[in-house]
């Protein structure tokens, strides 16, 4: 029983010695390690600085809000505040969509703004060639290195006729293939090392992320193992080393470059998202149907007024114990925000549908599957961004309604009605700055590691499927190898 293992080990050792003697292999591995190191360091530095900048900006906007002078509450509704998307805890390893989403969101009354100031729009066109992060190195660069190092592993033996010699020394097809897989797997492990160190470093800075970091590492290990097994199998199946190389480079280009782009293009055209202006128009049209607080004769607000008067048992808004303008403002905000939420939910569903299409195409490209697993794990995926947008909108609504409540309860109705004509009444509508300090602050934590781990499951399942496919391919290679030896 030990003999096949010993044989596989010996073959793996011989293969690794051969790589050590090959200048091309050494240069390739050294280049990858260097790139990986550069990617890890620059990504860590950039992420740390982005994280600090955004935290500082959030603190600054919170401080500015709290130190505003005495004001009419509605002025604070328009003054608004900013929500900044925190950097994902493992973003130094995989920055995901971070560059392609805005990071700063202005929150104000009556309006829903988009997130602005994303890194991609602040960069040259070169950003579209890819961002050098540890995740990019593992997803795209490492497989090609493995192709270069492994394409000839079995094909070379056959071309030189040394396969027969190996067989006569008692090596089985399984033993030979296992040896080659072991050798290439060792290189893959080496290639992963800097990225893994980067991941470990991120996890150390964020205790509690250890488990999810391990899961991400596992996903990449599975992904690279798919490549290692696939490359060995193709090398055994191809008639010549050259044929194996060309086929493997084509497979690499299709899997890591072509399919992800084509899939994104397809998803965008197949399931288009309404533009911002489309949504603005639709919301405006809905509002005109629902009720227009500008219009004194509006039916909806007339009914609203009747309801309020009824509730307080009075006949005129002047007799209300609260400021009716504040109530109208709150009701208007409730109506618009409900529409915002509806349209946002629709847009979110379309975006999630688009991303689900991408994910489904992980069936034809493990690169898509591992990218998804990695982004979800690092909390830098679409879902995390949408969670930020929705959380910020909920915060915005709560803040604006608190301010509207201040207008209803702290500003006298008579003064509020006269403020545009009477400067003294205007002065009296300004309420104490202390109220601003009682407003909650925006805070967002990344989704819990357990939640992210669950969200990674479909992608991990696809990687498992790919492991099975590559294992089948290897079994096929073994049979072919057995047959040719007879």
């Amino acid at each position: 029983m030990t003999r096949p293992f010993a044989m596989a080990g010996a073959i793996a050792g011989a293969e690794l010695r051969l790589m050590l003697r090959s200048r091309l292999a050494l240069v390739g591995v050294a280049t990858l390690l260097l790139l990986s190191g550069i990617a890890a360091v620059t990504s860590a530095v950039q992420t740390a600085s982005a994280s600090a900048t955004r935290a500082a900006a959030q603190a600054a906007t919170d401080a500015q809000f709290q130190t505003q002078p005495d004001r009419h509450p509605h002025r604070m509704v328009h003054y608004g505040t900013y929500a900044l998307r925190p950097v994902g805890p493992l973003a130094a390893f995989d920055s995901g969509v971070d560059a392609f989403t805005g990071t700063v969101l202005f929150l104000e009354g009556h309006r829903q703004n988009s997130a602005t100031f994303g890194a991609a729009r602040e960069s040259s066109d070169l950003v579209r060639f890819g961002q050098l992060t540890p995740a990019f190195v593992l997803q795209t660069l490492a497989p090609l290195l493995l192709v270069f190092l492994g394409f000839a592993a079995v094909a070379r033996e056959r071309e030189r006729g040394s396969l027969r010699a190996l067989r006569s020394h008692g090596a089985t097809a399984a033993g030979i293939l296992a040896g080659k897989v072991l050798a290439l797997g060792a290189v893959a492990l080496l290639a992963m090392a800097p990225a893994l160190v980067a991941l470990l470093w991120s996890a150390l800075r964020h205790p509690g992320e250890g488990g999810i970091a391990a899961l991400i590492a596992l996903a990449y290990a599975a992904y690279l193992l798919v490549w290692v097994i696939g490359i060995t199998a193709v090398s055994a199946l191809a008639r010549t080393a050259q044929g194996a190389l060309v086929a493997l480079i084509a497979a690499w280009a299709i899997i890591t470059v072509l399919v992800p782009r084509a899939a994104a293009g397809w998803a965008g055209v197949a399931d288009p998202l309404p533009t911002r202006v489309d949504t603005e128009f639709a919301i405006a049209a809905d509002l005109r149907r629902l009720g227009d607080s500008h219009n004194p004769d509006d039916k909806y607000f007339a009914a609203f007024k009747a309801r309020i008067l009824d509730r307080y048992g009075v006949t005129s808004t002047d007799d209300l114990p609260v400021n009716y303008r504040g109530l109208v403002a709150a009701e208007g905000e409730r109506l618009t925000s409900e529409l915002f939420a509806n349209y946002a939910a629709r847009a979110d569903a379309i975006q999630r549908g688009q991303s689900a299409r991408l994910q489904a195409l992980g069936v034809i490209s493990p690169a898509l599957a591992v990218r998804q697993a990695s982004m979800v794990g690092a909390a830098t995926d679409l879902g995390t961004h949408l969670a930020f947008m929705n959380r910020a909108e909920a915060y915005r609504y709560d803040l604006i309604q608190r301010l509207n409540a201040l207008q209803a309860n702290q500003v006298s109705s008579a003064d509020d009605g006269a403020r545009s004509r009477d400067p003294l009444a205007d002065q009296r509508t300004r309420i104490s700055a202390d109220f601003w300090k009682t407003m909650p602050q925006f805070h967002l934590a990344a989704p819990a590691p357990a939640t992210r781990a669950t969200a990674m499951l479909p992608a991990l399942g696809l990687l498992g499927l790919w492991l099975a496919i590559s294992a089948l391919l290897l079994a096929l290679a073994r049979r072919t190898l057995d047959r040719t030896a007879e």
């Binding site: 392609f100 729009r121 040259s124 066109d125 890819g130 660069l141 090609l144 050259q242 991408l358």
Partner: protein, 417 residues
């Protein structure tokens, strides 16, 4: 001619070569198709906006009472129409908005808005003809040319072939011509159809075709240089793939890192906050001081600048504009930072021909960063016209009603600045 025919026949007998060319053709066709679909979607979005705007204008006409209402509630559409070549190189049109509605309020709070888009679709980059040309065509060229000599040597025919009189003219040149020609046809045929559908200006189409040919020429030269060195086919293929990989994927990504590190950008969040602070402080600043500052810029409105003791729109719009001026320098620095990065990237393009040619394609199609910045400048110029239109009404106290809404200046997409 017979030499070409023979080589074409030989190429036709290689199933792998035909498959590669067919795949390239299909990808180019798909790229053109997706590009045309994307451009059609953008155009439809612009049309929808212009049609919907009529409803918005009618609604505004229903409650507009004075010029202040028109200026405050009247959002005006601006748009960046895709060029007749945009389908071939979509550039950054997916991450920068092509539609933006602005009003006469401080522009700095409006101009950085983003389009609704799924960032996971932007992450891998666009699938358009430029992508097929820059990324995939070189791989096909490498596959077709890397074993030009080594393949014959490994088959034992090289000596016999080299011994034929004028082998270069009769064998190698036609062989290269047929293979490169196949790649060019696979790329140019879909492009020509796309250009006909999009109604591309012939000269621009020709220039774009020239860029496609340049990409092919560059990679043909690289492939032949490596292939001529006399190594084995596998070593040639590996070396060429490594060169492609370094030039197309790694070096541009590294250059992007270096350029972003070299050119610092003002913090966008701080810029936005600074603008908001100044605009809102306007409510509490002495009103005469605000008007004096404003009149220094617009002395022609001095005569009508007296303020009533209560709120007046002219004061409100005066401090809105001062808020923009307050951050003008930072905003300028922000823009020039992006422009500087784009400029450095263009310089890098001379060292990295694939990146340089991709940039040239986007520039020709008007979809590059420079085009985005130009659109923003058009918005700024239009915003100035819009503001000044309303200043005339506000400061002269001319009545403004529904009929005047028709006089509001419209955005000129062609961009007279």
């Amino acid at each position: 001619m017979t030499d070409l025919k023979r080589e074409a026949w030989l190429l036709g007998r290689s199933r792998a070569a035909l498959a590669a060319l067919l795949l390239l053709f299909l990808c180019a066709a798909a790229g053109v198709g997706l590009g045309l679909a994307t451009v059609a979607r953008d155009t439809a979005a612009i049309d929808r906006m212009l049609a919907g705007q009529r409803t918005e204008d009618a609604a505004l006409a229903g409650f507009v009472r004075d010029a202040g209402y028109g200026a405050y509630y009247g959002f005006q559409p601006t748009w960046d129409a895709p060029s007749d070549l945009a389908f071939a190189a979509l550039g950054s049109r997916d991450i920068a908005p092509a539609l933006l509605r602005v009003r006469a309020l401080a522009l700095e709070g409006q101009i950085y808005e983003n389009e609704a888009a799924n960032p996971e679709l932007a992450l891998p980059g666009r699938f358009d003809l430029a992508f097929v040309v820059v990324y995939l065509a070189p791989l096909v060229l490498i596959a077709l040319l890397h074993d030009l000599w080594s393949g014959e040597r490994e088959a034992g025919r090289l000596h016999a072939l080299e011994a034929t009189p004028s082998a270069r003219r009769r064998i190698w040149a036609p062989r290269v011509a047929v293979r490169v020609g196949g790649v060019l046809v696979a790329l140019l045929l879909p492009f020509a159809i796309g250009a006909a559908v999009a109604g591309t200006d012939p000269q621009r189409a020709l220039a774009f075709a020239g860029l496609i040919a340049l990409v092919c020429l560059f990679w043909t030269a690289v492939a032949l240089l490596v292939a001529r060195r006399g190594r084995t086919s596998a070593v040639n293929a590996a070396s060429l793939a490594a060169i492609w990989f370094a030039l197309t994927l790694v070096a541009p990504a590294a250059a992007n890192l270096a350029i972003n590190a070299a050119v610092a950008m003002p913090d966008g969040a701080a810029l936005a906050r600074e603008n908001r602070e100044d605009v809102h402080a306007g409510w509490d600043r002495p009103r005469e001081a605000t008007m004096q500052q404003f009149l220094a810029l617009y002395p022609q409105h001095a005569a009508g600048s007296a303020l009533p003791p209560t709120f007046h729109w002219k004061w409100y719009f005066a401090f809105q504009h001062l808020g923009d001026l307050h951050v003008a320098e930072t905003s300028d620095a922000y823009r020039s930072g992006i422009a500087r990065r784009a400029e450095l990237a263009r310089t890098t393009g001379w060292l990295l021909p694939p990146a340089g040619l991709a940039q040239a394609m986007a520039a020709l199609a008007g979809t590059d960063v420079a085009a985005q910045l130009a659109y923003q400048q058009r918005i700024r110029a239009y915003h100035t016209r819009l503001r000044e239109f309303y200043y005339d009404y506000l400061f002269s106290e001319k009545p403004f009603g529904a009929a005047d809404l028709a006089r509001v200046p419209h955005f000129d997409p062609a961009g007279s600045m």
